[in-house]
Symmetry: C2
Subunit: 337 residues, 2 copies
Amino acid sequence: MDERKRRVLEALITDYIATAEPVGSRTLSRKYHLGVSSATIRNEMADLEELGFLEQPHTSAGRIPSDKGYRFYVDQLMQPDRLHTDDIARIRVAYRARMREVQWFIHQTARLVSELTAYPSVVLAPGVDEAKLFDVRVLPLGRDAVLLVMQTDAGIIQNHTVSLPGGFDMAELKALAAEFTLQFRGVSIKELKDRIGDPVAGDVSRYRGLWQGALQWMAAVEGDDDKVTVAGPLNILNYPEFRDVDKVRRVLGFLEQEAAIDQWAQSWPADGVQVMIGAESLVDDIQDCSVVTATYRVGPYVVGRLMVLGPRRMHYARVIAIVQAVSEELSQALNWA
Amino acid sequence: MDERKRRVLEALITDYIATAEPVGSRTLSRKYHLGVSSATIRNEMADLEELGFLEQPHTSAGRIPSDKGYRFYVDQLMQPDRLHTDDIARIRVAYRARMREVQWFIHQTARLVSELTAYPSVVLAPGVDEAKLFDVRVLPLGRDAVLLVMQTDAGIIQNHTVSLPGGFDMAELKALAAEFTLQFRGVSIKELKDRIGDPVAGDVSRYRGLWQGALQWMAAVEGDDDKVTVAGPLNILNYPEFRDVDKVRRVLGFLEQEAAIDQWAQSWPADGVQVMIGAESLVDDIQDCSVVTATYRVGPYVVGRLMVLGPRRMHYARVIAIVQAVSEELSQALNWA
DNA sequence: TTTAGCACTCTGGCGCAGGGAGTGCTAACA
DNA sequence: TGTTAGCACTCCCTGCGCCAGAGTGCTAAA
């Protein structure tokens, strides 16, 4: 793999990313001043194909990069773009607002990333599973309904309206909430799921249903709800590789499977920017896509990820730079929030 | 418009809804026992075309219904299906759960409708704009953050975390919330938007930013957020008229414009099941679609709507029945909730 | 080692013919 | 007078062959 092969491969991938058309030797020698003739490039391309970096759709077409080719490009050839100052400004401005809930930042991030990249984006919100219960409170809402408010150590707040037909005794409920807080403070939500059946001190008989419902809700419903935010899914329709409705269906269908995406993301390495090319994602429905993902933090802890989904010939250099910059900015914003 | 013409038109539309193929006279005489020969049907079809109920894609193709044809079919010929007992059971079961927030019912409804009809569905949640403020409370969350909880007379509860760097005086905040409640109870959220600047009695100087932010949030952000719920958008991909990516883009793009949908829905007549065929919707992006919509109530008041979006050759009889049944069931569920 | 030249291959577009589906018209029939 | 059978005609769709264009691989010369 000498220097010239590297340059040919880089030029070819650059061109293919821009045009989505198989690239021929003549095109390369004309558009990129490689200093050699098309015949030489032809030989290099034949070698690169033999090495598995390129593929030929059919005998008399140009070459396109293989997954391996993209991988080499991402790891060895490309370097992340320097973002345009406009883009940088846009990222800064996006988080300027104060007094917002975490969920607002998540939405904002998803929209921002999909607009900057022109690909669909996904943001995974901090999970509540790992968070530890901090306290539970109850607010009367009327004659026969209360609002349960749960706070975790990560500062995440969940709340839920519960109706109690037949009314309730507020003092009793308050005591119960205090008791509950005392007993379960510091227990992770995940663990709480297994302890739904635990007896709670105090007179719970009347409100057993309430607690069980509330716990189920805390543990299950709200835990996964809103965890995955998708923005700009229709961006995928702008790329010629998705002119086919069946391919579109698979990708958009995948983006609707929020629970599956969440679970899938659990298996990824912990930190930093990752790139998955084509089949590397191990997900059938997005074999024709690449994924670029980065984590974000609250303090020192990784709490969530953002990702960009695009065709395999994604504009990696730019997307990586954006994802990197946004994840840092988001981490900062969350630290201040 | 004699009886035979009506029967021919009905048969033709039924067939076209099922097959999406232009229907010829021979097909009609074979599949539907109309008691006359294909030649006679041909004559009737020519008449129906002249009257504007049918169209011909090209000279030697069968006929397809025009918008006017569908309109006549919906108004005069068709009657809503009797739902299968399975479907009825499914609708009943969907709302059986208790102790749920309004938003849960909305999501449930959207999913249910899109699954039953196999078309995309949209549900408009009760607006908060018309709701009147009932009370505002504040809960301490830690050293420098509080949770604002706002309740309206419609029983809608919104809440919002606000950070107050530098700490706060809880007693003062509580008094302020009480004061605020006193002053604005009974004022609609819509009105509240215009009165954000109103002075509040008590010492607000320290917390002015808090109130302004909170009000802005109540009035603007949460008011429109989540108001429109879409389910099953990809169902549209199953219909051959949307095999073209550009058409898909327009329809799915429309379904993403939640604010626009909300506004659009404001202009519809108040109550009952409505059908809009093709251009009748007055929305460019869904000229190739029909819409079936129904309202639902809390007590005697219409508070929201659900709608089904499908190709013009929608299965009106079934969809109308479903939309009708679901809207009634939802109204009941909300009355009990 | 590089390059020019050339024969070869494959795709995609175009024109054309034939089959099929459906129509409209005409004339016969009840 | 309304209905039907028959028939010529129209138009779409499909498959086929052909050709131009793009690109390759190989060979031979620089």
